[in-house]
């Protein structure tokens, strides 16, 4: 049992504020929440929507249609009105609503009740509460708490607005029955925030980035945490500067991270290669959006997998993670940082607009500072050689400022880091570095199998498609007429856990690769790795996220 409330309107009309308030209070009440954002690349006007899906069990994706549409503009009603399911409710911020919608003039009510246009979002939230049959007083409590530091007046005005909104829906009160609170964890978090928080607690000390949607959310989160965790946050002049700052900072001894999107990542490719040869543990969040070039800057997609796997000239080891859930965003950020430091090589976190903005309940996040192990050699001194040749390929790593002199070079170098054109030494160093790739492969995360053991259909996916695929599996299996299905999700896309993948891929007859791109990039990778011959494809590259329905229909 779940319902979706879609708040829609122009940028600047309060779509985001209303949605955030609604999601926040519902989380606090113990409802399972999944909020998704759809917006245009503009600051005012256009059509944005914010979906708050509520349920009695964990939710990990959005839906195509909505139960409640709160339209703040006419265009919102025009475009999205058809997406309200039969029996659903459409509210319109105006006195006369076109078509089947009900006019509730949130803005006017806010003006009347509180002499404030901006509180229209509270009015709307009150109205939504009433329509879904929730007790508006619970919303009022939440508002009092939220506005506590803004003074009683502001709080009470908001309370009055909420009540007025609830009242004014009239006959629509209780038109729908919202899911019951089932004690879901009250804290909500987005993917972008989860990455940022995990980075801060894991000890990232320099966040250097250049703003780029949808990577910016993580950068902003790190900025908001900077004072608490002692982080220097610097907006670089461009992405090239950012990646080279990371290289410098990690050389200097602190974990460092950047967030960006495809175009910015493209500019970082040379720096990635630098981290490869210098063996620096830099970490980059690549939040995908549809390309090529500027493409659709505020939409989602999974088109940069193959690019992320090969970006940078020359050959070097890397780890590429692709979290599927908000929780994984946190876990894998920590893991990426730790892996980068253990193996002294770059790690990428491949996410996308959908997951960056996806907001859901999380267990109260552990905010304690618990830095990763930087894996430094503490006994380095005279005669220290930064690139000593070892069996594992990992050389003892020291940082400058101590007893050892630390010499690193982008040229081919000796084991002491000195520039060198010794061809044999070059091979020795190249072999040493590439041995780390083997060790990395041994550590690769096994893909997660979800579904019955005897599934006949398998949805193979990676990254943010976890949620929709998992829901598609559940929906498929709920229907007895359909062949049983399972999901195989890769949260690490490089290196692959070959044995586990082979195992899981061997069973089912029908294998589908679900990917947010046109050329089936992950399927290509599986073929390249000898893991899969042919498979069916379920692809989407229109900029919108997958939903369970989309997948089910394509199966």
């Amino acid at each position: 049992m779940d319902i979706t409330i879609r708040v829609a309107g122009e940028a600047g009309q309060g779509v985001q504020t209303t949605g955030t308030l609604l999601a926040g209070v519902c989380g606090r009440l113990g409802l399972h929440v999944a909020a998704t954002k759809s917006y245009m690349s503009r600051i005012r006007g256009g059509l944005n929507w914010f979906d708050v899906r509520l349920g009695e069990a964990p939710l990990c994706a959005g839906r195509d249609d909505a139960d409640v549409l709160v339209a703040l503009s006419e265009a919102a009603l025009d475009v999205l009105g058809g997406g309200v399911r039969d029996g659903g409710v459409a509210l319109y911020d105006g006195d006369e609503a076109p078509g089947a919608a009900t006019g509730v003039n949130f803005t006017q009510i806010a003006r009347d009740v509180a002499e404030s246009k901006v509180m229209a979002n509270t009015v709307a939230t009150g109205a939504i509460f009433a329509v879904c049959g929730y007790d508006v007083e619970k919303l009022c409590d939440y508002l009092r708490e939220q506005f506590a530091d803004k003074g009683e007046d502001v709080a009470e005005k908001n309370v009055a607005c909420a009540r007025a909104g609830a009242e004014r829906v009239g006959a629509l009160r209780g038109a729908l029955t919202g899911p019951k609170a089932t004690g879901a964890p009250p804290a909500l978090m987005t993917g972008a925030e989860a990455i940022g928080l995990a980075a801060a607690t894991a000890g990232v000390k320099l966040a250097a980035a250049y703003p780029m949607t949808p990577g910016t959310g993580t950068f902003t989160t790190l900025a908001s945490l900077a004072d608490d965790y002692g982080i220097v946050v610097e907006q670089a002049e461009d992405e090239i500067a950012a990646v080279n700052m990371l290289c410098g900072a990690t050389y200097g001894g602190v974990p460092a991270m950047a967030s960006t999107s495809g175009g910015g990542f493209a500019l970082m490719a040379e720096g990635l290669s630098l981290a490869g040869i210098m063996e620096l543990p830099i970490c980059i969040v690549v939040a995908q959006r549809p390309g090529p070039a500027t493409g659709l800057p505020t939409r989602t997609g999974q088109q940069d997998l193959q690019f992320a796997l090969r970006a940078g000239h020359g050959e070097f080891a890397r780890a590429v993670y692709a979290p599927g859930t908000v929780a994984q965003c946190g876990e894998l950020t920590r893991r990426a940082l730790q892996t980068a430091h253990r193996f002294q090589t770059p790690a990428l976190i491949l996410t996308d607009q959908f997951l960056q903005d996806f907001q859901t309940n999380v267990d109260e996040p552990d905010r304690t500072y618990r830095p990763i192990d930087r894996c430094l050699a503490d006994d380095a001194g005279k005669g220290y050689k930064r690139y000593a040749v070892t069996d594992s390929g990992v050389s003892p790593r020291a940082i400058p400022g101590g007893d050892a002199f630390v010499v690193v070079d982008s040229d081919s170098h000796t084991d002491a880091g000195k520039i060198s054109e010794d061809l044999r030494g070059h091979v020795a160093q190249q072999d040493k570095r590439m041995r780390k790739a083997e060790a990395l492969a041994d550590e690769a995360l096994a893909p997660e199998y979800y579904g019955p053991d005897d599934a006949e259909r398998l949805l193979v996916c990676w990254g943010s498609t976890y949620g929709p695929c998992r829901e598609a599996v559940d929906a498929n299996n709920a229907d007895r007429r359909r062949k049983p299905a399972a999901m195989l999700h890769f949260a690490q896309v490089w290196p692959l856990h070959v044995a586990a993948a082979r195992d899981a891929l061997g069973g089912p007859d029908e294998v589908y690769c679900v990917e947010g791109n046109q050329t089936a990039q992950f399927a290509a990778l599986l073929r390249e790795c000898g893991l899969l011959d042919a498979c069916a494809l379920i692809s989407r590259y229109d900029g919108m996220p997958f939903t369970a329905r989309y997948i089910l229909e394509a199966m």
Binding site: E10, G45, G46, M212, T216, A223, Q235, A293, M544, Y550
Partner: protein, 273 residues
């Protein structure tokens, strides 16, 4: 289910009250008043709110809306391919001075015959309000939570130091002045920098229209734009008074006028020989 959002994709994509409108209107008027042949006019931009301008003029024009920060090299390529075209770059401060800073230096050094109209709103608009290279010290944002500490980038000074053909400043709120500056820039052969103060009503609450209006002051007739020291002095003047007008001009020949391959005809004109 793919919603048909096209109808909500209204144009221009700017906020009501944005200074960009003033720039667009001035531009339209300049095209109209000077009877500019739009067939040989190319508007080039990068990415940002300002960078959308090429899509919005009244009259149809040729448009190259390229990558963030890369308008100048693209414009350089266009001008070299066909130097009979009038090539105008119209883009933001982040675009031109941040991501595009290196191209700014070197376009100035070349003195390539491209006119750069920079919508300088002292902020990153499209990405929602981070500081730009021209943000004031102390300007706070969600990234610069303790305020900007870096020195404001001084594009005028750099352009003067590299001896470009034309350096001017104007204000989006003064249509006539802006038109005059745009028209003047279009007269020069080499690189022209027109830095346009432009209020961003959404993200820049410091440098508002009023803030600019209270400060802009046309350079007097006494100013000799060929006097580099005087021009630099004006370029450094920023505070209670902000000079607007033609700050600097130079006789240095344009890049393209010194290319042997372009003496007889344009590159595109010589393709079929």
């Amino acid at each position: 289910m793919l919603y048909d959002v096209a109808q909500a994709d209204t144009s221009p994509a700017w906020c009501p009250g944005c200074g960009n409108f003033g720039i667009l209107k001035a531009f339209d008027a300049v095209v109209e008043d000077n009877a500019i042949n739009t067939r040989t006019l190319v508007l080039v931009s990068g990415i940002g709110q300002a960078a959308k301008l090429p899509h919005y003029p009244d009259k149809p024009v040729n448009v190259f809306n390229g990558l963030h920060g890369r308008a100048l090299p693209a414009a350089t390529g266009i001008k070299l391919a066909n130097h009979d075209l009038t090539v105008v770059v119209t883009s933001g401060d982040g675009d031109m001075y941040g991501e595009g800073g290196n191209h700014f230096i070197h376009a100035a050094r070349r003195n390539i015959g491209v006119k750069a109209f920079v919508h300088n709103n002292q902020v990153y608009g499209l990405t929602k309000g981070q500081a730009s290279p021209t943000s004031e010290a102390g300007f706070t944002t969600k990234i610069q939570t303790h305020g900007v500490t870096s020195e404001r980038f001084n594009p005028l000074a750099l352009a003067i130091c590299e001896d470009v053909s034309f350096v001017a400043r104007s204000f989006s709120g003064d249509r006539e002045h802006l038109k005059a500056m745009m028209s003047a820039a279009l007269q020069y052969e080499g690189f022209c920098l027109l830095d346009i103060l432009q209020p961003c009503v959404t993200f820049n609450r410091l440098n508002t229209a009023k803030w600019y209006k209270d400060r802009v002051k046309p350079v007097g007739d006494a100013h000799d734009p060929t006097d580099r020291a005087a021009a630099l002095e004006l370029a450094f003047t920023w505070g209670d008074e902000i000079p607007v007008g033609v700050i600097y001009t130079s006789e240095r020949p344009s890049f393209e006028s010194q290319q042997p391959a372009l003496e007889a005809r344009t590159l595109v004109g010589s393709f079929d020989r």
